[in-house]
Symmetry: C2
Subunit: 287 residues, 2 copies
Amino acid sequence: MQVFERVPELRAFLSPLRAGRVVFVPTMGFLHEGHLALMRRARDHGATVVSSIFVNPAQFGPNEDLSRYPRDLEGDLRKCKDSAVDAVFLPSVEVMYPAGHHTTISVGELSVPLCGRSRPIHFAGVCTVVAKLFNIVGCDVAIFGEKDFQQLAVIRQMVKDLDYPLEVVGHPIVREPDGLAMSSRNVNLTPRQRAASTSLSRGLAAAREAFERGEREPRLLESIVRHVVSSQPEGEVDYIELRDATDLSALDGPVSRSAVLAVAVRFGGTRLIDNTVLVGPLSRSRA
Amino acid sequence: MQVFERVPELRAFLSPLRAGRVVFVPTMGFLHEGHLALMRRARDHGATVVSSIFVNPAQFGPNEDLSRYPRDLEGDLRKCKDSAVDAVFLPSVEVMYPAGHHTTISVGELSVPLCGRSRPIHFAGVCTVVAKLFNIVGCDVAIFGEKDFQQLAVIRQMVKDLDYPLEVVGHPIVREPDGLAMSSRNVNLTPRQRAASTSLSRGLAAAREAFERGEREPRLLESIVRHVVSSQPEGEVDYIELRDATDLSALDGPVSRSAVLAVAVRFGGTRLIDNTVLVGPLSRSRA
């Protein structure tokens, strides 16, 4: 496994390998089993697996947890190597955003609801860094986790709209044994917050059960999650919303197509997100 | 020469040619000698020359001349063939902007002054379509004319900021025998406007002469152009400005580094632009 901190060296390494497929797994590091699942998935997809580790300042707002974002470079590189990653791109902030950088990419409507409401610059920061990484790595396939459901939708939209010649693959959420969706941020939870944090996945599971029993009313499915999350006093709800799974538009009537039930809860300075996609058997009647 | 109206067929054609260099000349069609000079330059650069003809609605404001923009597809294809272009990409608006397209790219400050002031959405439209075309064509080199000086600066900024793996080449302005910079829009001028339109290049030439004689005061150099342009009653000045040639920042003091003297004048519904870059011998004194 080779590690590159600068763009020209990475490009020189990748250039002769371009005949085969290059599969890319971008990360912000502090790798957990969810990331490693993406890397194994990448191995299945292509001859050359490239990962990146970069905590992207452009996707953090001024009052967010950039300075508290956990880091473990040594452990990350060991995990990449153990996951048979061929090359790790490890740029500095100066390499990614040298003085005079001004360009930003916006995908419009998709970045407005859900996480976009409390994080107005977040998805422009995500799109910009992901576009840069796509151009640097020149990948044929890029793999992202589905925990960041809106991020995945935003990246799919950008790739489609800008005609990036690559396939975006979403990988299912990987969870702790008690249901908590794996996230690098989980390490920042206090023991009490950690205990309370299972309310997100429990709430989503309860709503999914109701959906599978035939419940189709968006507000009722949301209220099931809210009931479970509100049963613990540690977390403060940012949003609990059922939306169209493709365009994230609001659902006013009963669920009649693939929908995502998404939740964000703040535990002190740590904001956790989770979601579940609800797909058929859909309602026989829209009444 | 092959002509492609859709992306997958163009990509299939280009894919086996990627071992060599692909050089790209994007255009809005109604090709003139300026475009053909870019195509000949492309021939010198690379094994495969791709051009595109697409009048990009996203870079026209609501009151601009999109509907009046001249078109001559048959003549254009003949000129491309005569210029030894290998492939022409000829997409419809639906191919470039299918329903649901939302992504836009902004380069920030560079798009604000000069043409950006009267055309606030113009450069976001340019960046978005050029990024799409770069991703579609996968070129190693892209060639643009220097008449659209701000456009060239904006594209250079985007390519640098987004790490596009390609070289941007600017080609000198090609002029009519009487000095008018070649533009597809020139055909829309009335005979009186056409006669008056030489005031742009005459004004710039007069300012350049003064610069070469040692004049370094931005406002004075601008006033020389204004004097010539205002001597004819047909045109209405949009701007006449001397700015830093690299970042287009305003020049408050005497010219001490490479600067661009840029002009935009409206002749009825036809807006013409022109420019000249002023480079050393620079002033011995900043006084």
